[in-house]
Symmetry: C2
Subunit: 268 residues, 2 copies
């Protein structure tokens, strides 16, 4: 039995071709959300947007996100899709949705698409960023948007370690819950970068897909390298061990952002 990422992505989904497909690009500050996915008695992003859709259409509409984000994780370009009768042009719908959403979530783009479009199954690439506030004193403006690392970090070592991640690897060592993932833990990391601007360090990770908590575990490991707690070579060994029991600590949720989700070009 093969269980490749491609097969998972090709999983068929049913849709009603008489409905209009809608693609939303969303930004949210995750601080006051219990993550993306709707749960009873919790404030979630999915619920906020589904409530706004219900106000506009007068009926319950199920929203499909490109993936879940955990409590406290932010998004600059989360993508979600739903099918519903065509009511408005995209610009009017964007304004109507934003008028019905709390200020910590915004629809930054709204497009009418084919009803076959599915935000999760059709995605081919995602980019995350992770922000670190690297200064002795915490900053009152970034406590919920950056991980505060007070001690100096060896950026050269961190960059060298991050080079191990480039390309196709089994990232089992960097998922928090390997049993939960029934499919392959192989992913292709297309780009990793680390930029340093005054007290702020910014990681970017682009891959064909990410495992549960993968970015936070990668950053946790890279910061251990930066603090000199593990060597660059040890970081490589952890990756190649393909075992979560080898892995370093998870970085906090507050520094993580889903930046963008890529889809194949639309057939024209």
């Amino acid at each position: 039995m093969t269980s490749s990422l491609e097969q998972r992505k090709r999983r068929p989904h049913r849709f009603d071709a008489t409905l209009q497909g809608h693609k939303l690009t969303l930004a949210y500050r995750g601080t006051d959300f219990s993550g993306w996915q709707r749960q009873p008695n919790k404030r979630t992003v999915q619920e906020c947007i589904e409530n706004a859709l219900e106000k506009i259409w007068g009926a319950k509409i199920i929203l499909q996100g490109s993936g879940r984000t955990d409590t406290g994780v932010h998004a600059l370009g989360q993508v979600a899709s739903f099918n519903a009768p065509r009511l408005h042009a995209d610009s009017i719908l964007q304004r109507a949705l934003n008028a019905n959403l709390p200020r910590d979530v915004r629809v930054v783009k709204c497009r009418l698409v084919s009803p076959a479009f599915h935000a999760r199954f059709d995605s081919v690439e995602k980019t995350y960023r992770y922000l670190i506030w690297n200064h002795l004193v915490q900053d009152p403006f970034t406590w919920d948007t950056h991980w505060h690392v007070p001690r100096p970090l060896d950026l050269t070592a961190m960059r060298r370690a991050s080079r191990f991640l480039q390309g196709k690897h089994d990232f089992a060592s960097f998922t928090s819950n390997p049993g939960y993932e029934r499919e392959t833990t192989v992913r292709t990391m297309r780009r990793v970068s680390l930029v340093h601007d005054k007290e702020t360090l910014t990681f970017h990770f682009t891959a064909d897909g990410f495992l549960y908590r993968m970015v936070r575990n990668l950053v946790g490991g890279l910061v251990k390298v930066g603090l000199g707690k593990i060597s660059v070579a040890d970081f490589g060994k952890i990756l190649h061990a393909c075992s979560r029991s080898e892995a370093p600590a998870t970085a906090p949720a507050c520094g993580l952002y889903l930046v963008s989700v890529k889809y194949p070009p639309r057939p024209s």
Copy 2:
């Protein structure tokens, strides 16, 4: 009777020369504070810091700020002073204070100074900045740190209008409560700048002192110029009218930051 700014600043204050003077530089996110000044049943910056001082010294200590900031106004470099028996070196005191402060206020610098130092009376210059998020869609990360102006702004006109402000003027047209100010409304504006980086506009204002709500009223007026609601010449007329009844609307508190307070060099 003369009542110049200089005379006000030279007002004598009593101090106990046997105590140690302390100078704190503070950063705070104003969102969840009812401003600087202690008030009954309100969460204020002054109260938070005085409570931390009381924990460390075991006695009530009165803190003098360089000036008040309103509800929702932020600071990157507010300065405050107090006199107390010498307990700790400045770096230890900074850490002890930060350990006893909520995460939206930080002591960014702590210096032992002469007990004659007074954060308000000794200040000779202040710099404020004002941030505007200028994009059709509000941003979930900046709703409490920037004023959201959705319509396009004519930056050239705004820069031309801001040139009227340079130098020594009676700024009575730009204070919200002229009756409250018993002293002169003449101030010297040393620098005004407007920088534009993607969706963010940043004003900087440096003067020998500021009237109540002066920066927010200046920004309110400059944005009216940017929107084409008043002309550059009209903005100049408002300034020269020296009358608050002439003045445009006040910009919201959330975009305003007290950046720094300058003092004369210490005698060596």
